[in-house]
Symmetry: C2
Subunit: 253 residues, 2 copies
């Protein structure tokens, strides 16, 4: 797959970082010495961690060279390593494992969560849970209805699925002394339906666009853009409201 576009991703950085701030706000008051930021992206969450815990050793992990280059330049007090979070194992126990919108990319993130708990003292992670939102339903609809359907339907089927809350609670309750789970649906006022398209062009649309030729991509995008415009009506002040649900976990071993 082509590498992530950090500039496009960062276009909505303030909105994306809100979740990292909210997650960090629920981490109990303690002084971690070692912190890992899993799937650190352009370092927006790492920067928050560095500001909150200035004395900790912080390591950001990501698989994207683009993202790591941006993160490195941004948070000079942290280390950054290229690493697939699915296969990551720390050499020593970690005081705090943090992951803002990353674990959902790992196909079996249920097992991953349990494994992460075995490495940590304290953990906080957040996963977008927008598979049932219009933005994503329309993405799948366009993928399933076009000359690309045979290529894209299997991809639609492997998109990260967030499970039932009971299931997460049960698997974490078996290994954690404290668990806090909540879901927040942010209402982001964006400049128009095309902003919704841009938001997901930098993230959720990537696997759908990847197998397409440049010409197909244009057709796909113009159909997706038209569907979104019809489904995200402008408010009287011109904005469109993007509902964005995110599922949060704060755990203590």
């Amino acid at each position: 797959m082509t590498d992530w576009n950090s500039a496009l991703y960062m276009k909505f950085e303030n909105e994306r970082t809100r979740a990292a701030r909210d997650l960090l706000g629920q981490i109990p008051d303690f002084e971690p010495n070692s912190i890992f930021d899993l799937g650190c992206g352009p370092g927006n969450g790492t920067e928050l961690l560095a500001a909150t815990f200035p004395r900790a050793t912080i390591v950001g992990l990501d698989f994207s060279d683009n993202m790591l280059a941006v993160a490195c330049a941004r948070v000079t007090t942290a280390q950054f390593n290229k690493q697939d979070i699915e296969t990551w194992r720390p050499a020593d126990k970690v005081d705090l494992i943090f992951a803002n919108a990353a674990l959902q990319f790992v196909p079996n993130h249920h097992d991953l969560m349990v494994r992460l708990v075995s490495f940590l003292h304290e953990g906080g992670w957040q996963m977008p849970n927008n598979i049932q939102e219009l933005s994503h339903a329309l993405m799948r609809m366009v993928a399933a209805d076009g000359p690309w359907a045979r290529r894209l339907i299997p991809i639609a089927k492997t998109r990260p699925m967030i499970g039932a809350l009971d299931e997460y609670y049960q698997l974490l309750a078996a290994v954690c002394s404290k668990i806090d789970i909540w879901q927040t649906t942010y209402i982001h006022p964006l400049d128009g339906p095309d902003s919704v398209v841009e938001w997901f062009e930098g993230s959720g649309l990537r696997p759908f666009l990847e197998p397409l030729s440049p010409c197909e991509r244009e057709v796909f995008m113009s159909r997706y853009r038209a569907e979104l415009a019809a489904s995200y009506p402008r408010q009287p002040n011109g904005k469109v409201l993007l509902r964005y649900p995110r599922l949060f976990f704060v755990v203590q071993k």
Copy 2:
């Protein structure tokens, strides 16, 4: 109506105050001189406000004598007044209006929100939005099916309804320079289904129990208890998970 039972309400105070903490956490960093806490209840939110803004003049308003007595004893640096928030009008502009789980009790809370904006510089309020949750669907079901149905159905119909998010956004966008709306669904692990009953006995069940005789109340409660036990299954660790959605607003005039 009989007065609120502050002791019962406070049984789940930590869970109820979580929302007040989260709301306060999103209020921009500023130094309000005057704060009103609308529907302050037992002063749990007022206490947070007093700790966060030690130099501000804080006034808690509530309609319940029980709640006011508890709040007064608890937050000695604040003033408390008996006041119906629907008819409240401050003498001067207020720097910060705060309301944790209060505005939803006002029949036309849409108009109230717009009126509040005319009084404030900054505002933050939160309203439970659990009308579609099992806990409340079962409450209405028991109310509609029993010797009390004729008395309770009209009450079920006047329970506070939370409107569409677009609607709130539009009416606030017309009068505010900044609006932030989000909904958080907390997952509260409680000791068992009876804890869910106790939670709402201190709040949402009150209008349903009020018109019943003591004997009817017992029957109503035992039926509600049985319904909840069937619908909130115990987790392997014995807990039940109460989903509790709350809708948040932070606005600037």
